[in-house]
């Protein structure tokens, strides 16, 4: 028998996989870190690692589509003269005009208004399209203060002081020059075509005591009418929530690391922050320790995709959830019908994330007027409304199955976890046991 130099099968490194190798080559060629939009793409513990228990004998379920299950939520009941009343506990997260086209902002407003919920401005100010189509509009007060003016503060239904964002806690915006149209440049008081480094921290306050005074100023300017939200990136949720409450927030917006962004460094998106699953219970704990749970409302965001995610967030103690990426998909972002266009950009539907380049064929993350026309704001708004209504039906469905006539009655006891990691983060028992890692002993049934 003759052996002819047998070879082992070529094997690629687990550590240096194809993506890692391509990123090293890209960095070596361009001399800049990768910048992209969207949220994390790596696997993280998430709501899928939790299950609802439903009702049997120890709990009594309600009849689907027959017995009422309330979904309304009131935000800003602590200090504001005019709290916000929403029909559903799902809101639209802050996304800027600049990052998104005017048509996309209009579509978000249309969809949210049909569904009975709020939209939120972003790093770039308030546009007439957005205010005009949004029955309830939250105005973000951001470190960059682009477009900030007292007239728009007064036009808003609530003010959201953005301290951090889940996709980039501690980081600022990265709107590159190619997306700076005449209109965006004018709104931001900057020359056309230059990179815009939105600040990572507010210019005129430096800590929680200053934040408290800043909130008083905003309340005084708006005659204490508007709820003041404080948005924090999910990093130190217990302490940041407690300090936001101390500073006078009416509502806390807690954004986990799966949350999307218009454009920032890949290293931020994938390596900074905490999964939202790990953030909710510490934040709720802070509210409970201060006697403020349900008095200061908690909105949770960061990778919320459907009614199941939303219901689980509510069960863990949130008053509402907020969606960003899912809303854009509902409008038509990354739609397979555009695959030929995505292919021209070197990518495919479901993977397109170079939002900073402004070439979005869906007409959503662009300032190119021709591309922006690809999005019909009326049709896209209708799609978003449908999606929001489906999410709400899904939340009601599991709430009824767990025996609740109000989605806000969902509670941690309605949940169990499939993995030890999820059980520890969400502080619910590992499935089939009474064991909550980090909370109690090894546990029986």
């Amino acid at each position: 028998m003759t052996y002819h130099n047998p070879q082992t099968t070529p094997r690629k490194s687990w550590t240096f996989d194809d993506y890692t190798l391509s990123e090293i080559r890209r960095a070596a060629t361009t001399g800049i870190y990768d910048i992209r939009g969207g949220g994390t793409k790596r696997h993280l513990p998430h709501f899928d690692d939790l299950l609802f228990l439903g009702a049997s004998i120890s709990r009594y379920p309600l009849e689907g589509y027959r017995e009422k299950c309330s979904t309304t939520v009131t935000l800003g009941t602590r200090f504001a003269k005019k709290p916000i009343e929403l029909k559903i506990p799902v809101t639209i997260a802050g996304m800027s005009f600049g990052a998104l086209s005017a048509n996309a902002k209009e579509a978000l407003g249309r969809g949210a208004t049909i569904a009975g919920t709020s939209t939120t401005t972003g790093d770039g100010g308030m546009t007439p399209e957005e205010r005009g189509q949004s029955k309830t509009l939250v105005y973000q007060y951001l470190p960059s203060r682009y477009g900030m003016n007292p007239d728009d503060l007064r036009k808003a239904d609530a003010i959201e002081v953005v301290v951090g964002q889940g996709a980039k806690p501690g980081g600022g915006g990265m709107l590159l020059g190619q997306k700076i149209s005449d209109r965006v440049a004018e709104m931001r008081n900057l020359p056309k075509g230059i990179d815009q480094r939105s600040a990572c921290r507010h210019p005129d306050w430096t800590g929680p005591d200053d934040l408290e005074i800043k909130i008083i100023e905003l309340r005084e300017i708006t005659d204490w009418e508007k709820p003041i939200y404080v948005k924090i990136g999910g990093t130190r949720p217990y302490y940041d929530t407690a300090l936001a409450v101390k500073a006078g927030a009416d509502v806390i917006v807690l954004d986990g690391m799966q949350g999307g962004t218009a454009a920032t460094q890949e290293i931020f998106i994938e390596h900074v922050g905490l999964p939202i699953l790990a953030c909710i219970r510490p934040a709720v704990q802070a509210l409970q320790d201060l006697g403020m749970h349900r008095k200061v409302q908690l909105i949770v965001s960061g990778g919320i995709r459907n009614g199941a995610d939303a219901a689980k967030a509510l069960a863990l103690g949130a008053d509402a959830v907020s969606i960003g990426a899912a809303a854009l998909v509902a409008l038509g972002d990354n739609d397979p019908s555009l695959n030929a266009e995505y292919a021209k950009l070197g990518t495919e539907a479901g993977c397109y994330d170079d939002w900073h380049e402004g070439k979005d064929p869906a007409g959503i993350t662009t300032q190119d007027p021709d591309l922006a026309k690809h999005l019909d704001p009326v049709l896209a708004g209708r799609r978003l409304a449908n999606f929001l209504k489906v999410m709400t039906l899904e939340i009601q469905t599991v709430a009824r199955a767990a025996g609740h006539n109000n989605v806000h009655n969902l509670e941690p006891e309605d949940l169990c976890a499939l993995t030890m990691e999820a059980a520890a983060m969400a502080r619910v028992p590992l499935a089939g046991t009474a064991w909550i890692p980090g909370v109690n002993g090894s546990g029986g049934l």
Partner: protein, 228 residues
């Protein structure tokens, strides 16, 4: 003249009354007594009225002012006239940090000194300081003018965009991408008007140097990485 004494009335009553002036009320002159360092005095005013605050104020006095002429007969805490849109704010004493932060229009005059970060992220406001200013002033300043009759601290104009800075005294150091620029006739003309509007007509524009952006960091280039 309408007088509100903050030892007898609340801050809320003061601001509420001032906000009512945008609906046709005819109280053109206001006097605020006993401010005693209170925060958020005369914020969000949107009417062509004059407000004289007789004493020193805390944070954010005259924040987001539109149209009004507000004079503080004392010193001001952090963030005075922050995000001012128009009108005029005069501080007879000194101002703390972030004076005129993100201001978009109008004029802020500080007759004493200003602390750090004066004019931070300014977006169109004109700021005139008769005394000195502290470090990191005009950080990321986008547009408008900052005039300093005294000295400037460290890192003046760091990461500046298109704001124009005029300093009569010494500058301890310039921040990233901020350079001294030629004073051309149009700059003398602009500066002379700013000084006059600020009530400093005895100061000559020829005594100032101009600073602004080198515009080298406007678009990222890895070869400039040392500047970041």
């Amino acid at each position: 003249m309408r007088t509100i004494d903050l030892s007898k009335s609340s801050l809320r009553e003061l601001n509420e009354d001032l906000h009512r002036q945008d609906s046709g009320a005819n109280e053109a002159s206001w006097e605020v007594l006993n401010p005693r360092g209170a925060h958020a005095i005369a914020v969000g005013v949107d009417a062509p009225i004059s407000v004289d605050v007789k004493g020193s104020v805390g944070y954010y006095c005259a924040g987001m002012n539109k149209q009004a002429a507000i004079t503080v007969h004392g010193s001001a805490g952090p963030g005075v006239a922050e995000n001012m849109m128009s009108g005029k704010v005069i501080i007879k004493g000194d101002a703390s940090q972030y004076a005129g932060a993100t201001g978009r229009g109008g004029m802020l005059v500080i007759e004493g000194n200003a602390s750090s970060r004066c004019g931070i992220s300014m977006k169109g406001i004109d700021i005139v300081v008769n005394g000195n200013i502290g470090h990191m002033s005009a950080f990321m300043a986008q547009s408008g003018h900052l005039v300093v009759c005294g000295d400037a601290g460290d890192a003046l104009g760091d990461s500046i965009y298109e704001a124009k800075l005029f300093v009569r005294g010494k500058v301890k150091s310039l921040g990233a991408d901020c350079i001294e620029k030629e004073m051309r006739p149009e700059h003398h003309e602009t500066l002379t008007k700013l000084l006059k509007d600020a009530g400093l007509s005895n100061v000559k524009s020829s005594e100032f140097k101009r600073y602004g952006s080198a515009r080298k960091l406007y678009n990222f280039n890895i070869d400039n990485a040392d500047a970041y």
